[in-house]
Symmetry: C2
Subunit: 103 residues, 2 copies
Amino acid sequence: MAKISSPTETERCIESLIALFQKHAGRDGNNSKLSKAELLIFMNTELGAFTKNKKDPGVLDHMMKKLDLDSDVQLDFQEFLKLIGGLALACHDSFIKSSSSQK
Amino acid sequence: MAKISSPTETERCIESLIALFQKHAGRDGNNSKLSKAELLIFMNTELGAFTKNKKDPGVLDHMMKKLDLDSDVQLDFQEFLKLIGGLALACHDSFIKSSSSQK
């Protein structure tokens, strides 16, 4: 019988990102695209720490424009990954900067 | 006093990806770049489910070449995110295909 092992941390992350996208994109019945309203809910519930000081509604429009490669005013999963990747990169860079300044 | 809330699922994923990269890239003492040897260990320990049927050593060279945008034969965090993003996209697409074929 094949052994089913528990997922690794990387596999768990990939599963989480897919589940998060499906959950938020599916609010309007179409879980393959994240609308601007759905993106706003995602940002506020999942990324409050990043958005709490950015109450300017223009920021969302600007983000959407930057991420929405095919200009359909919605984000598909690939465009959503670009958002997560951008945030991860910013966190990583700030982490590196703060650890090197402590040396 | 400022309230410290527990991280959301998205924040946890971002933290995990940074920690995973730091852990694997740091094996040779330089935690800002993932060498080919470190990538192999990462793939085998974290992504065994994806790699178990790919024993051809040429696959690693091919992957490295595709991901290594600045051709320094190492992966920085941004290039590492491209690997994770590519895998997440492939999983998402296969999930969508399998759910639509079940309808």
